[in-house]
Point group: none
């Protein structure tokens, strides 16, 4: 009665859809499943989302934003690339554990998706790669790392994060995210650090 947001029905449905899609897969989930999970009638889902396709797209949008926002926030909270990367990793791993659905749907990729759908995922991933590249470019300007191919390194970082998060999602990851993050960034660091600092 007193506290918390009123349980917005649209959000309830959105999260239920994430749960269901993540559990049974998009195509093997029915709108009936989603409605049941949300505790509403089938027609109600259509009151908030015009189609099943719109529902999955909204989920993708939501997921990518969650990820990008995390990267942005961690970037602003710190000024040292090393700390930034560590913070991002810790945050993303935590997010993955808390919010398996969203992360999973976004990170797992797009097997069996139609071209149109795939385009969506590609665009989303591009945004992230850009963010990582920006981060690296800024660190270069600050002299924190040497001159590297930022696009390539963005790939290595994004790929590594993906791989680690996937492991978390699949419940096989080490529980100590801080230590894991440190190790990973350490591994990247040798390749990134400026020669002078290296010396």
């Amino acid at each position: 009665m007193a506290a918390g947001q009123p349980p917005n029905k649209r959000d309830v449905i959105l999260h239920s859809a994430m749960q269901v899609f993540s559990r049974k897969g998009f195509h093997d989930s029915t709108m009936e499943d989603v409605a049941q999970e949300a505790g509403v009638g089938k027609g109600t889902v259509y009151l908030y989302f015009p189609s099943k396709q719109a529902l999955i797209e909204e989920i993708f949008r939501y997921s990518i934003n969650l990820y990008v926002d995390a990267v942005d926030k961690m970037s602003q909270d710190h000024t040292c690339l090393r700390t930034q990367l560590e913070a991002i990793l810790v945050h993303v791993l935590a997010m993955a554990e808390r919010n398996q659905q969203a992360s999973g749907l976004f990170l797992e990729g797009a097997t069996g998706m139609s071209e149109e759908f795939k385009g969506w995922v590609i665009d989303s991933k591009s945004i992230l790669l850009d963010r990582y590249a920006d981060l690296l470019a800024q660190a270069t300007q600050r002299g924190q790392i040497r001159l590297v191919d930022v696009r390539m390194w963005a790939h290595l970082i994004a790929g590594g994060v993906d791989s680690l998060v996937t492991t978390v999602l699949w419940g096989k990851a080490a529980p100590d995210h801080h230590r894991l993050a440190q190790q990973v960034v350490d591994a990247w660091w040798s390749g990134l650090m400026s020669r002078e600092l290296n010396a």
Copy 2:
């Protein structure tokens, strides 16, 4: 009768399925599509594969094997980890370009897949991670790299490879695979190399 492999009908269907699934997505492809692509009747597909599910599983099996075999072959052909990794990268990138379907289906992951299906993909990826871990362990024993967390490094390498290959599949990669491979391995190397060699 005389030359080449006899055009095994099962393989024709398998490759046609890859083409179709890769183009339209698994769920949006029909068995009719597959049959047409293979130039056979719909019933014939069922003569060689008991179900659509069996077909996609066979494709996954095939794809992962293609990948693992490549890793194995490159591992045996070379004795230096650096060279091994470079060779693997070059080979896998080439494979991705040649055989977009198989690689794509395997690498792109599993969004919207059902749990059962996902298990398949996880197992497949585990096999690869094991291979990379083995490679690193052997290199450690040979003193080529220092003592690192091989599981973590396996993740970084596998993830990086995935990310790069995905780019190739999406037609955005640099055309010079050799140079790209060298750069990538270089990046990894600083983190991997034994202190002594580093000095």
Copy 3:
């Protein structure tokens, strides 16, 4: 407050329904459409009409009455069959042009209607045929026309009127209704007129 009829809400809804049904077809119109056209809430429609079916039936009732009333009025206003028919035609054509919805819904018939529905239309058309037959019988008694099969002639007249009105509804009719009516009645007249007058 002072002048005109009070804008009876039931009538507003009825006319809105006519508009909508006539524009989009009965089955392709939703109760939501009707409510929106009437500027009321969906629930309000149900306050005045128990169901969609009841709504269309009321429209039919209204439409047939409009038609029959016209025939009755023109019959009373004139005493010569020729003038009566001409007046009816002119009136009905004008009505069709003014009130496309009602006329259209009634005259266009009943393709794809269910038996139950069809019964309604049949009954309605019967009423009209009776009116025409009465008109002819009276003219016979007055000696204005010779002894003819009034039922058959009622069909010919009703059918002809239908066909002409349909053309008006479809926007292909001549604009001069008076001339058209005269021509049509002329055409009928030769067959109807009493031999004596003919001579």
Copy 4:
């Protein structure tokens, strides 16, 4: 085994659809109904007709052709307009009795049909009006009738035929089609015949 055409499955479905649509109305009939009536599975209907809409359109096409063909044949079989009209009437009435579905669906019109659908019906009716107008024009050239507005007369004839046939379809018509036809044509004739012949 020996005689008759092989029972073409497409035709079986088409006729079943006519039966069902005519009985329950287009919108109140389901594809399941049609399939059941035809004694086939639901999917089989879609093997021969791509959609419910396509099915009704095919029925319309079929019906209008049945009607137009009858008019054409009777026109060619006779050279005197009077005989032509009588033959057409007799033929069409018989057709209506034999093949209630097709005739009914075509003749009853288009209440509650969507605009698009209505266009179809209008076009179909136009074809018929043209045929009647041609018939009248030819008779005028042959001097069999005087100079009349052939479009208007086409309307009167078409409308009258419609009205009569509708009565037959609704089971209220006189059983003696020949006599009925003669009476009707008689009625028209006075208005049509050339003055000279009239004298």
